[in-house]
Amino acid sequence: MMLVILAILVWIGAWALNGWLTRGGRHRSPVVRTAVPLIFGATVLLVWELLVRGLEVPPAILPAPSRIGATFAGNLPILWGDFVQTILKGALSGLAIGVAAALVVAVLVDRYDVLRRGLLPVGSFMAALPIVGVAPIMVMWFGFGWQSKAAVVVLMVFFPMLVNTVAGLQDTTQMQRDLMRTYGAGYWPTLFKLRLPAAMPFVFNGLKVAFTLAMIGAIVAEFFGSPTQGIGFRISTSNGALQLDMVWAAILVGALAGSAVYGIISLIERGVTFWHPSQRT
């Protein structure tokens, strides 16, 4: 009970601290900018730890963060293997193929009006489809290895990417297009010098969505069959064996990898679309 009260106090204290830090002009300093979210994250972990201990939650239901951390540190080789299997082989290869395919098709769709009017409605229909449902089919078609995971990922990322890119390719103003015409520019110069650069902010938006979908797809597909490693494999088998600390350690791998890739995409975005108002602060 003491611990529960302590947890509540920690929570209130942390909020007060963050409130103080963000008041006045302080919030502009880079130190505060990083400190505030870190304090929040640390508070969540601390409150979790205190509540688990205070309420004596069985570790088979919810392990304490300290325990998860210990398990994580103690199983680095296994978790590294899972990371390679699921993120590098499954998610990223599928993402690469799906994105590349979507970019090519987007250019075609943008070029041929029939395709735009035909494929885009079908595309947005498919984009809303719960593609996770095809995971068992892909495992049946492409086997237990990373290939079937990549296939699921390709299907999941293709349409969001397509829809975004097509929108981007069309995000040019009448004026910009007219300018190209007064230069007597043909299709290809217009594509390379106007449409593709203009589409980049949309492409990156799509990429951020596609990436989270890729993670989901790769992990869920492992539930339907996998070799004996992978984040999804680890989560489902450890869960069956009541090793919840291992389950959370595997989730941590996913979250770390996810945040890292998200950060990398954001960095590249910054480099490529430096000119866009949203990047210019």
């Binding site: 570790p59 088979a60 068992p136 339907f224 069959g225 004996t228 088998t237 869960n239 064996a241 009541l242």
Partner: protein
């Protein structure tokens, strides 16, 4: 009426016909019990459900139950309706596998989530490594929920239950001659399946023991009835299946095969079978399933009370 919540190990199917039959035939009512049967599924760990207080009693395989015991969930076997194991490894004959010695260099499908223990134990007794296909190792796949890996020849062998997946292989048009089966029972690595487990602390309470005794008694009547009326039992299972995906043919056949695993009406655990299970699990080589001989992992109190009336 006393409430009892039963968590099944798997989806609603004839593997659990006895419980559904007891429910539908009113055997539980006669024992003044109000039983709720929760179906399981591929990612439902009954041990976790009972640890969280979501069930009073679960149907579980002994390896998973003992592993959970070591993980801090003190499960106790109170009854063992299934006397024999139905688990086997089914292989294509044309892969050249004739005996367990031929496994190396092949790909084997195995169920995980706590069901891999007997397999790992068996392999370690055979001295076969499980981390890759080579001269003295096999490639292990986490087998999904169906027999496609075998049909599609993605695996040379897959785990099957005599009563379920094996039948599905045959349903797919494969003839028994094309297949080779290795029953765990025949290989001396059989572990006890489908027992009833409760939390140790509950057994302190005589009222709980009495409730479980009545539950076990009624359940066994259910099993008796199901064995005698396989078609009706299959139909009852079908009616209780909320997914509506089962077929009567498949459930009837499953009922027939299940009946073979319940050799007598005695729900009491056979200590010899228990010892054999523990020995198998302890022999897990470098990573045994359980590291110490479990103490108090089963009790005859409930079955004795059930028989005493």
């Amino acid at each position: 009426q006393d409430a009892v919540t039963l968590q099944l190990k798997w989806v609603t199917q004839a593997q659990f016909a006895g419980y559904y039959a007891a429910q539908e035939q009113g055997f539980y009512d006669e024992e003044n019990l109000d039983v709720t049967i929760l179906p399981g599924g591929p990612d439902v760990a009954p041990t976790q459900v009972i640890a969280g207080g979501g069930a009073d009693v679960i149907v579980e395989w002994m390896p998973a139950a003992l592993a959970a015991r070591e993980a801090g969930v003190p499960l106790v076997n109170i009854a063992q309706p299934f006397d024999a194991s139905g688990m086997q490894l089914t292989c294509w004959a044309d892969t050249g596998i004739e005996s367990p010695e031929d496994f190396p260099n092949h790909t084997l499908g195995v169920w995980f989530s706590g069901n891999e223990y007997p397999f790992l134990s068996w392999m370690s007794q055979l001295g076969v490594a499980t981390d890759g296909k080579d001269e003295d190792g096999v490639e292990v796949l986490k087998q999904g929920f169906n027999v496609d890996p075998l049909i599609q020849r993605q695996a040379d062998c897959i785990s099957t239950m005599t009563y379920n997946e094996y039948g599905q292989v045959l349903d797919a048009g494969v003839t028994p001659e094309e297949l080779v089966n290795f029953k765990y029972e025949d290989q001396g690595v059989a572990t006890l399946e489908d027992g009833l487990y409760v939390l140790e602390e509950n057994l302190q309470d005589p009222a709980f023991v009495d409730r479980m005794a009545r539950f076990v008694r009624a359940s066994m009547r259910g099993w008796e009835w199901a064995k005698e009326n396989p078609e009706e039992a299959a139909q009852i299972v079908l009616d209780n299946d909320e997914t509506g995906a089962q077929t009567i043919e498949h459930q009837t056949r499953m009922m027939g095969e299940i009946a073979k695993l319940i050799t007598d009406a005695d729900p009491a655990l056979d200590p010899a079978a228990y010892e054999r299970t523990v020995a198998t699990l302890m022999a897990g080589g470098s990573a045994p399933v359980i590291s110490a001989t479990p103490e108090g992992a089963w009790t005859a109190a409930v079955t004795d009370a059930a028989k005493a009336q």
